[in-house]
Symmetry: C2
């Protein structure tokens, strides 16, 4: 066996043994060294760049590696075979899945305000935070030789009287500790559980002095990022909030590559473990620790995720979602328990899944649609969730239509040579001086952070500014000259955002014509999806009265620039509303409110799903949208000024 040592920028070597000729990316995965591979290792994206420090690899040259870089040891992990003991440097930009788990600081009140507003907005639509969980404190007579009723019956009788129910169901998890809990608490206990008609399903029994709340967990499983909140099931109070990267990312940046990976031997298990064991379990435990809550006190969980994420989470075959005729295992399904997935929660906790409505419109969108409130308005609105996929819902209180388009990873920095996720060093906003063509940035990270690359909102700004300043044409070709217009290592025309000496990595941060072309196709997919959906109703973009934009990608998004590049319809800027993570807010509403859950089911049932890939005219719309802003300038009247 050969020894492979992965060396990270901030220390923390990891060693693993590998066979001769083994693929370096596969070995990295085995070692839990996450290297960004949005294309799932087929050599097309060029993101899995690593540097050979010692030893020998068999790596063909690639268009993603210049001769100079190759000489410095740069290789693509996905097309490298191991020939000897090697030491491999993994640059930060490539180690996509650094466990960037963080819990939010609730003391500022900002997060609390967001969820209070979410609650207020659904309550304004007569959807109340009422659920079937309740707790009761009972004092039992201690048993004696004259009163030898067994523990379970003693407790059940008291609870029936206290709660006015006919039956108390006691699961194994409760019975297990019932004798000791009753005796240690002096026969005064607090019981938490779920009422279902005249049956009370007991979920926890603890000392009467225990005041810990009954908790729910709401989770948004994004393709890239997973976000969750811990909430008090009685009050809706936010107890903790956390987020982390989706551990599946090392098996591909988009859902298609992950489904393909899941069909390989052991793949379903690998994908499921990546989301359950590597991502959700630590995230949930971190929230429980922050709020000082034991897992058994978590009585309900709601997950909002796209259809593929739902399938990989559950562990069932996702391949039929991807292949014609695109049939998921489920849209709505209420048979899932936390214990089925070994998630840290009460043994009886159910996992509510926000319903999917199509192969590419999932629970994140149905939950998000609830929060967009477009179903409760007279005006015709577009709700768009801008992630790796773009999902679009259009309608009002009378009807809802939805579709999805594959925008690809461009909004998250994939398929862009200097693209990156919205982490430290990412340029998230940009303006370019029309005269000097010099850029000004906002960079994520601490004071003095140098640029590393471009994240989604930064790319939108850069392209809008390049076009606005006449540096590039409507087709994305460079038409001006200057010190920042150059050619990159691969000989592609590019704009230099930061020269090597200004950048964190010591390499130029650039955007080249291939990147611009990739991005134009991504934004074209979004806009053409909107047009096609509207056309199916005999409408056009002029009918859109309001636009609600959601998604992690959207947080730094410049709406005006999004219109300028022709991604969003040209409506007045005050008619755009950024609504944040509507998927998470929807899951929060669903875990808190039985009415919210019913409403989301109702929305899902009533929503018409349009499958773009089989809709005539979509390709024509797409081709027409692959210009800046569009081949039909009349669609963007405000830009004529």
């Amino acid at each position: 066996m050969l020894k492979v040592t992965f060396r990270f920028e901030h220390g923390d070597d990891r060693e693993i043994f590998a066979a001769e000729q083994e693929n370096l990316l596969e070995v990295a995965r085995k070692a839990n060294v996450a290297i960004d591979a949005p294309c799932s290792g087929n050599g097309s994206c060029g993101k899995c760049r690593v540097r050979l420090v010692e030893g020998e690899l068999d790596s063909p040259k690639s268009r993603h590696i210049s001769d100079e870089e190759y000489a410095q040891g740069w290789r693509l992990a996905c097309n490298s075979r191991i020939l000897s003991d090697v030491v491999i440097a993994v640059p930060d930009i490539a180690s996509a899945y650094k466990s960037r788990m963080k819990t939010a600081d609730l003391s500022t009140g900002e997060e609390v305000r967001i969820f209070n507003e979410a609650k207020a907005s659904v309550e304004a639509a007569d959807i109340h935070f009422i659920n079937s969980f309740l707790s009761a404190t009972v004092s039992l007579d201690a048993p004696s030789l004259d009163d030898t009723m067994p523990d379970n019956e003693r407790l059940s009788r008291a609870l029936c009287a206290e709660l006015d129910v006919d039956e108390v169901r006691i699961p194994h998890s409760v019975l297990l500790h019932l004798p000791s809990t009753l005796r240690e608490s002096g026969w005064s206990v607090r019981c938490c559980g779920r009422q279902d008609g005249n049956i009370f399903e007991l979920m926890t029994v603890s000392s009467a002095a225990d005041e810990a709340p009954m908790c729910g967990v709401a989770i948004d499983i994004g393709t890239t990022t997973v976000t969750a909140v811990l909430t008090d099931l009685e009050t809706g109070a936010l107890l903790a909030k956390g987020s982390t990267g989706n551990g599946q990312i090392r098996y591909g940046a988009d859902v298609i590559n992950r489904i393909i990976e899941s069909t390989r031997p052991g793949g379903k298990k690998r994908l499921q473990d990546a989301i359950l064991k590597e991502t959700l379990e630590p995230l949930m435990r971190a929230m429980y620790a922050q709020a000082n809550i034991s897992p058994e006190r978590v009585l309900s969980i709601c997950v909002a995720a796209n259809t593929t994420m739902n399938h990989l989470f559950v562990g069932t075959d996702a391949d039929p979602v991807r292949t014609e005729p695109y049939i998921p295992a489920f849209f709505s399904w209420d048979g899932l328990m936390a214990r089925d997935l070994n998630l840290p929660a009460n043994a009886q906790a159910q996992i509510i899944l926000a319903p999917n409505i199509g192969s590419y419109v999932g629970g994140d969108i149905t939950a998000g649609t609830l929060m967009s409130m477009i179903w409760n308005r007279d005006e015709l609105s577009l709700f768009i969730d801008l992630g790796t996929n773009g999902e679009i819902v259009f309608g009002n209180r009378d009807f809802l239509m939805s579709c999805a388009c594959s925008a690809g990873p461009a909004f998250e920095g994939g398929d862009i040579s200097c693209g990156m996720r919205a982490t430290d060093g990412a340029i998230e906003a940009c303006t370019i001086d029309p005269e000097t063509m010099e850029p000004s940035f906002r960079i994520i990270g601490p004071e003095g952070q140098k640029p590393v690359g471009l994240c989604g909102s930064g790319i939108i700004d850069v392209i809008a500014e390049l076009f606005h300043t006449g540096i590039i044409s409507a087709k994305g070709q460079f038409v001006r000259e200057g010190r920042r217009i150059s050619q990159d290592a691969n000989g592609f025309d590019c704009y230099v955002l930061a020269f090597a000496e200004e950048s964190e990595s010591g390499r130029d941060v650039t955007i080249n014509i291939v990147d611009i072309d990739n991005f134009i196709r991504a934004k074209g997919a979004i806009f053409s999806a909107i047009c096609t959906l509207l056309k199916s109703l005999d409408m056009d973009v002029s009918c859109v009265e309001h636009m609600y934009v959601a998604g992690g990608i959207g947080s730094g998004i410049n709406m005006r620039n999004s219109v300028r590049i022709g991604m969003f319809p040209d409506i007045e800027l005050d008619r755009f509303t950024y609504i944040g993570n509507s998927s998470l807010a929807g899951a929060y509403a669903m875990v808190m409110s039985d009415q919210a859950r019913d409403k989301v089911e109702e929305l899902a049932q009533s929503m018409t799903y349009v499958e773009l890939s089989t809709t005539p005219g979509y390709m024509d719309e797409f081709m027409a949208a692959c210009f800046l802003p569009h081949t039909n300038a009349e669609l963007f009247p405000s830009l004529a000024e």
Copy 2:
């Protein structure tokens, strides 16, 4: 660390490392070397004899080891501390828990006959083998671009139509493989599950060609032996039968010692693992293999066990069962699932527990009472289950009374110097020539098997014969002399059943006055319990019209000798019926028949439990019964002849 090597008679060394001064019995337990320790290691029973072959132990002498034996290396494992690397020979008689698992040969028809008779007997009382499990085969339309209903909904709709139900519940275990099963079977599938009103709970989905039966498992968890059957839930056919030793035995022969062990750190888990992982799981898997059934096809399990076994099986605190006021965690409880205990079965399979009615009258007795049929007769009958505990039920169709007495391990060879379980080498029946005082035996095992010791039924015979031939007095003292009347290594008067040269072990097989005294107390406990129970009804033994004897101990039992020693009431011999393992037969009826389950619950509810330890007069009855046959000879008129 020191190396401890356990050497078994038939090879199969086992090695483990131990700390200096560690207790040898504890180390043996860690190594999964089961050494008989009915007293749970307090030095009183003398059963954990092992032989030091090499190395050094710190072992005080014991009354259980003669000087000569000590010189040969014999030690009690429970009071030996390890001082060096040691090699320990574990004699067969001490390795109580050899995994003697066996599955029954069903081809002889004998076992099939027993269960057919059990079925016939309950059906004669209008209790029918009808349950809520059913299977259906459905053919679905394959999905297409025009028919994109998801898999779960497609299947649910077809099943609702086929079974005329309103709702189909699909659990995670089924959804997990649903997409592949539907596609691999060409959309024709067989579905098994449970109907509950207008809801069908789906439990398995397989190809329509799959003809494997839906199965149930019935288990009798005895303190010493565990027996189980696998049955076809539709027909009641016996598919497999197996038995094995209860792996908990190394933590004590009786329930009290096991409860005490369970209260030690980690004890509950140890006791539960011993019954679940070491005993039931291999036993169940052996049955499944014999019948070629996959675990997921096991849809229901019924367990009949005494109250303590039930608690240790479930994993809840058993200590309150043992200590005043003797309160179990449950009598009846229907919240247990196979998955709660990780038993190999369908993920949705429930475990039905035959209800307990007192701390010492458990589900084995309520299930057994069903099979005794005493509740369906006019005549007053006694039903007795003779195991480590003796449980007694008395009554008829109008009432039922029950009690339990601790007979101790004597019936299973415990507390008897040459006692052993009913395995190879055990004398199971005996007569003694009144003139020559020479014994004749029936010995368990192959042709030519030499005696090793005495099992329960053999002890009854030996004592009855010793008394009948005038060798011992009514108080158990030796009153005749001869070559077989001797003194054992400890200087106690004894009768030599087999001299060293005639025995398997090369040691005398004897019964001494201490053994006889122990046994008289055991049989006295049984008889006095019967008398006390009857007295609580203002009755006496003359009221007993029929007696049903159950239990593993009973299989070789000589009823006449049982009367002669004063253990059973003196009624005509044809009024005794040996009914075998009524606990297992009752569990079999309960897993097959909802009506049987209801009937057992009804019997349990109606049965009055008499706690002997708090009943005045019981001690007097007990003292009076500690003679052969009894201080009051009038109770045994037939013996006067």
